[in-house]
Amino acid sequence: MTRATVLYFASLRDAAGRSAEAVESDAADLRSLYEELRGRHGFVLPIARLRVAVDGAFADWNDGLREGSEVAFIPPVSGG
């Protein structure tokens, strides 16, 4: 089991009902972690429309889940 903190923004935060949560997961990579949390919270956004960041920098969906890391799922942005 790997422990990490997950950050939620915008519609993902509304769906999860929180802006962050501590997770313990067996997910091999960030893709699997999102799918696990998607099942739990009912997120409608598929991975194809998201980006992922770890510890404040964009990351790859194939990256492994690191112990103690902070993972953020980034929905399509709409600034400007």
């Binding site: 923004f9 915008a10 404040g56 942005v77 600034g79 400007g80």
Partner: protein, 139 residues
């Protein structure tokens, strides 16, 4: 001094513009995005911008670094509001100084395009009908 920043309150443009003035720069291009009273045919009452601040600041700075590398400009700045905004409020400001206008226009356009496409900031709109929602545009 960061060239990109988030602001959780209204900000003055004049100091940003002044910071870009210089004897070398003959051309200055700026872009402003304001909150409109409508979006895609719906009446908008107000909106809120939320950001993943640490990543937004890093990515915004990267956009400006790219503009400085790609175009013959002297300097550039961008400030993006977060929090609650009303109709007519300034949401984003971009300013670019350069020796010539070609580069000033091109860089100013590049910065606003990339900020809108890449920087983790989200817009939440409240509509006249009472409903509201996050904007998550398709690619």
């Amino acid at each position: 001094m960061p060239r990109f920043r988030l602001s959780d309150a209204p900000f003055d443009i004049e100091p940003l513009r002044s910071a870009l003035l210089g004897a070398r720069a003959g051309a200055f291009s700026s872009f402003e995005g304001w909150v409109r009273d409508h979006n895609e045919g719906r009446a908008v009452l107000g909106l809120r911008y939320e950001a993943y601040a640490a990543l937004a600041e890093a990515e915004g700075e990267r956009v400006i670094d790219e503009a400085l590398a790609k175009f013959e400009i002297v300097d550039a700045r961008c400030v993006h509001r977060i929090g609650d905004l009303a109709i007519g409020d300034l949401a984003v400001w971009v300013g670019v100084s350069a020796a010539h206008r070609d580069a000033a226009f091109a860089a100013s356009r590049y910065i606003i395009d990339e900020v809108k496409a890449r920087v983790p900031i989200w817009k939440h709109e409240r509509y006249a009908g009472g409903d509201a929602g996050w904007l998550h545009p398709d690619g």
